[in-house]
């Protein structure tokens, strides 16, 4: 069931009414039923996979939690009987048992994800090698990736690791835990929530609050606007350019990069707006996933503002554990000995960064495009970091001041750089993408932008007008948001202003949205991850 389908809108209406009609202590049960109902529309086999993840994680976390409690009780009981060393040995013994449960559960949870998502990718790589030796081919598995598996698996893994770290005790109620993993608004494309943040809100119960409901609906509408008016309208041009690399080269590659940046931003943030809006109507605050990323002045800043919950997840559950792992300690010691203190201490940091970006890349998709995408991001971040002293010298030498125009240049530079890397999502493979990068630098065909060729990309003049209108509104909203919530600001305006704004938004979606017969119905891009 797509967020933009009529069925989903009906589903929401029924849910919202029921949610506030039943006693609040049963609201979480309704949400659990709604979440599984929603997910069952994607197929019962998908329900089976998520159920396995929920049960495995629940049992693992419960066992780990029990060991924690037993340890606490044992140490309390024997506080005076045991020596410090004995206590330490006991703790290590418990930790070791907990680690076994943790590893077993991680293997199972991530194993399902790995098998479903990466088996065919591995087979295709093995086949490439086999073809070289003319040794036949392995058949691909006929498996479809369950909707949102990357998101709910990461959410479950985060919970498990937090329980292992003793951050909070495990949830005792299987149903409540199942709701945390399967909460439908964020099931398909995130944000990746933390249990200590979302859990309590899901189970607490919420009384009807007109402001929440009104703000939530406004946020949902804004998401629909971005998805239907902008993302889905620009989609044909992105497809035409990137699926016909022999025809569309040079300036079209740049155009494709910019168009895809607009499409992905409008699509992904639009989806997240809908998610956050639905949760808001239900009285639940879901973490923001974007903070106007296209206003970033550097790549590192961009990644702090784009897909925030994924970035922090990788930081907390991959970067930190890898950085302080025994192996990395050895690498650190070795590199400092061999390369000197200054360079040597950077080696483990950069190695951890590379691992994180490799994982981020392959999490986005089982293909070399995404791996290269991740590594290119990593390269840009490391190079930027290394060049910082040079930038500082350059700025002071040439008296570069951080004024508006310079900031604008930085924003533009980051936007183009990120767009160039991001276009790897779209082209058939890595060699084609690099061929297109080359053509961008070698083929000078700017004149084609003005000879009517733009109207052959699957967009008509009127589509461009709508896009310009939509993008101007999207940028204006972002600019206004810099000084606080636009909804709060609008709420302080006279009723007629609010009425015109929201009815105008609603009518714009109805009239200018790219939906229905004649338009390709398009899944949210992040559904597939």
């Amino acid at each position: 069931m797509l967020f933009t389908s009529y069925g989903f809108i009906l589903f929401l209406l029924v849910l919202f009414i029921l949610y506030y009609a039943i006693p609040i202590k049963y609201q979480w049960v309704l949400l659990l039923i709604a979440s599984f109902t929603f997910y069952s529309f994607s197929g019962w086999d998908n329900v089976a996979y998520i159920t396995v993840t929920i049960i495995v994680t629940y049992i693992g976390a419960t066992k780990i939690g029990q060991l924690h409690s037993q340890q606490e009780a044992f140490l309390k009981e024997n506080r005076d009987k045991l020596s410090r060393e004995e206590k330490k040995a006991y703790r290590e013994q418990v930790k070791s048992k907990q680690k076994k449960y943790l590893i077993a559960c991680l293997l199972l949870d991530l194993g399902i994800l790995a098998v479903l998502k990466y088996t065919n990718f591995v087979i295709s790589n093995i086949n490439s090698v086999l073809r070289v030796f003319k040794a036949g081919e392995i058949s691909f598995l006929d498996i479809a990736l369950p909707m949102g598996i990357s998101f709910y698996t990461f959410q479950a893994v985060g919970y498990l690791v937090d329980v292992y770290r003793g951050k909070y005790p495990p949830e005792k109620n299987l149903g409540k835990f199942a709701l945390f993993v399967s909460f439908f608004p964020q099931l398909v494309q995130g944000p990746i929530s933390r249990f200590d943040d979302l859990g309590r809100q899901l189970y607490g119960g919420h009384v009807f609050d007109a402001k929440n409901v009104s703000f939530g609906i406004q946020r949902i509408l804004w998401g629909f606007f971005k998805k239907l008016v902008i993302a889905d309208r620009i989609l044909p041009a992105v497809r035409t350019i990137t699926q016909n690399p022999d025809t569309y080269q040079g300036i079209y590659v740049l155009l494709g990069m910019v168009f895809y940046a607009v499409q992905l931003y409008a699509d992904f943030t639009g989806g997240i707006d809908i998610t956050i809006g639905i949760a808001e109507v239900l009285g639940i605050k879901v973490k923001e996933n974007f903070e106007r990323p296209f206003f970033s002045k550097s790549t590192a800043e961009y990644w702090r503002r784009w897909h925030i919950t994924m970035g922090t997840w990788f930081r907390d559950y991959v970067f930190y554990p890898v950085s302080i792992s025994g192996f990395m300690m050895k690498v650190s010691k070795f590199s400092r000995e061999k390369l000197g203190e200054k360079i040597g201490k950077k080696v483990p940091v950069y190695l951890s960064t590379i691992i994180v970006w490799f994982a981020t890349g392959i999490w986005h998709g089982a293909s070399w495009n995404f791996i290269v995408w991740g590594l290119l991001n990593c390269l840009v971040i490391i190079v930027s970091q290394e060049l910082e002293p040079f930038y500082a010298w350059f700025h002071s030498r040439f008296n570069v001041r951080e004024k508006f125009l310079f900031k604008l240049f930085q924003v533009g530079r980051t936007f183009i750089l990120m767009s160039a890397i991001r276009i790897l999502d779209c082209y058939r493979n890595v060699p084609v993408t690099f061929r297109m990068y080359r053509s961008l630098l070698t083929k000078w065909n700017v004149n084609e932008l003005f000879n009517g060729a733009l109207l052959e990309l699957g967009l008509e003049k009127t589509d461009y007008y709508v896009l310009i209108f939509g993008i101007i509104i999207m940028i204006t909203v972002s600019l206004v948001q810099r000084s606080g919530s636009i909804r709060e600001k609008l709420a302080a305006r006279p009723y007629i202003v609010r009425y015109v704004a929201y009815v105008g938004l609603f009518i714009s979606i109805i009239v200018f949205g790219a939906y229905g017969i004649g338009y390709d119905s398009n899944q949210f891009i992040y559904n597939q991850f």
Binding site: Y6, V503, F512, A514, G516, I517, G518, Y519
Partner: protein, 360 residues
């Protein structure tokens, strides 16, 4: 703010929004007043002030292009209306009939059986032409449910703005001109054409793997028969005398058999072409697919006699009130006929039916 005031504000806002959306929907829906006139046929019935007809025709283009209610009136004093639409399928016809019976009880219902060959919806455009013109009713809801193609959505029939929203980029003066009113493009459902395109060759009929009409079609034909019987209406099955698409003997036999079993009159006009006097060199405007005015009038004269004799339909020309109404209809009919002949003389083709030719 007091609760009462707040509620009033919300109610007014909701009403204004509904009115705005309604206006927008009216604006964006195709008007079908020029070029694709077929889209305007179904809604014309509801604007008809006097809905007391002796005969109601239901079916596809083989009814709305081939029978002239004005001729039936002029020759026999029979009042009739054609509830036809482009490629009207049998379930469209059935629900249109069901809905028509909520307005009036005709003596005779004439159904053209060509649509028995289709057991599935064919094209969204034809669904739209049959259904968009119907006002909201239970029959309409059932018709939508029966008609939808796989990629169609029920809600878009209830709120057509969801289907036609993208027409904002092709709005013309016609859309504004007909925002609140529509002109009649037919004469009691008959879409007049006076141009001529003689039959030169007819495509050879292909052999079919299965000639049996589907259960779905029989189911609707049964429902139609039952509905007419329950309402004391005579159902007449006809096959119009158009040469293409081909009407197979195997199909003809099935309808004959059905009519015999259900005690219905079935006339295959293809078997009476000479008696009717149809000349395929002068009586068709598209080489045998449809009849033109000359052909439609001949067929109506022939059929009117049968209707009058078999079903004892009264000659209503003596009814003064009715005569006045029909006189106006005849005047409009003659006026359009003259206009079409004049246009044909001047341009060599009829503008209203020649989409795109104006630009050449």
């Amino acid at each position: 703010m007091r609760t009462g005031k707040k509620i009033a504000k919300w109610v007014v806002s909701a009403l204004v929004t509904i009115v705005l959306l309604g206006l927008l929907q009216n604006l964006l829906m195709p008007k079908y007043m020029t070029k694709i006139l077929e889209g305007a046929l179904i809604s014309e019935y509801y604007r008809e002030k006097n809905k007391e007809h002796d005969v109601i025709f239901i079916g596809d283009c083989e009814v709305y292009e081939n029978f002239s209610p004005v001729t039936l009136w002029q020759e026999y004093g029979i009042t009739s209306f054609i509830r036809g639409s482009a490629q009207q399928l049998i379930w469209h016809s059935y629900y249109l009939l069901e809905e028509t019976l909520a307005y009036e009880k005709p003596k005779v219902v004439v159904f053209n059986v060509l649509s028995m060959k289709y057991d599935k919806p064919q094209k969204e455009a034809y669904n739209r032409m049959a259904l968009d013109g119907m006002p909201l009713s239970l029959s309409k809801l059932k018709a939508i449910k029966a008609s939808m193609m796989e990629d169609e959505q029920f809600i878009t029939y209830l709120f057509p703005i969801l289907r036609y929203h993208s027409r904002w980029s092709e709005l013309s003066t016609e859309d504004f001109k007909y925002l609140f009113r529509k002109d009649n493009v037919t004469h009691n459902g008959y879409l007049m054409r006076v141009d001529v395109k003689p039959v030169t060759s007819i495509p050879q009929p292909k052999k079919l793997a299965n000639y049996r009409f589907s259960d779905t079609c029989y189911e609707y034909l049964d429902k139609m028969t039952k509905l007419c019987k329950e309402n004391g209406i005579e159902l007449v099955l006809i096959k119009a005398p158009t040469l293409y698409p081909h009407w197979y003997d195997e199909w003809d036999q099935q309808i004959e058999e059905y009519a015999r079993k259900n005690d219905l009159l079935y006339i295959n006009f293809l078997k009476h072409v000479d008696e009717i006097g149809i000349d395929y060199q002068t009586d068709t405007y598209d080489a045998g697919l449809h009849l033109n005015l000359s052909g439609a009038e001949k067929l109506s004269r022939y059929f009117g006699k049968i209707l009058q004799e078999q079903f004892d339909l009264p000659d209503r020309r003596n009814d003064e009130e009715l005569s006045e109404v029909w006189e106006a209809k005849c005047e409009r009919y003659n006026r359009e006929m003259e206009e079409q002949y004049a246009e044909l003389e001047e341009f060599g083709y009829l503008k209203a039916f020649s989409a795109g030719r104006d630009d050449n």
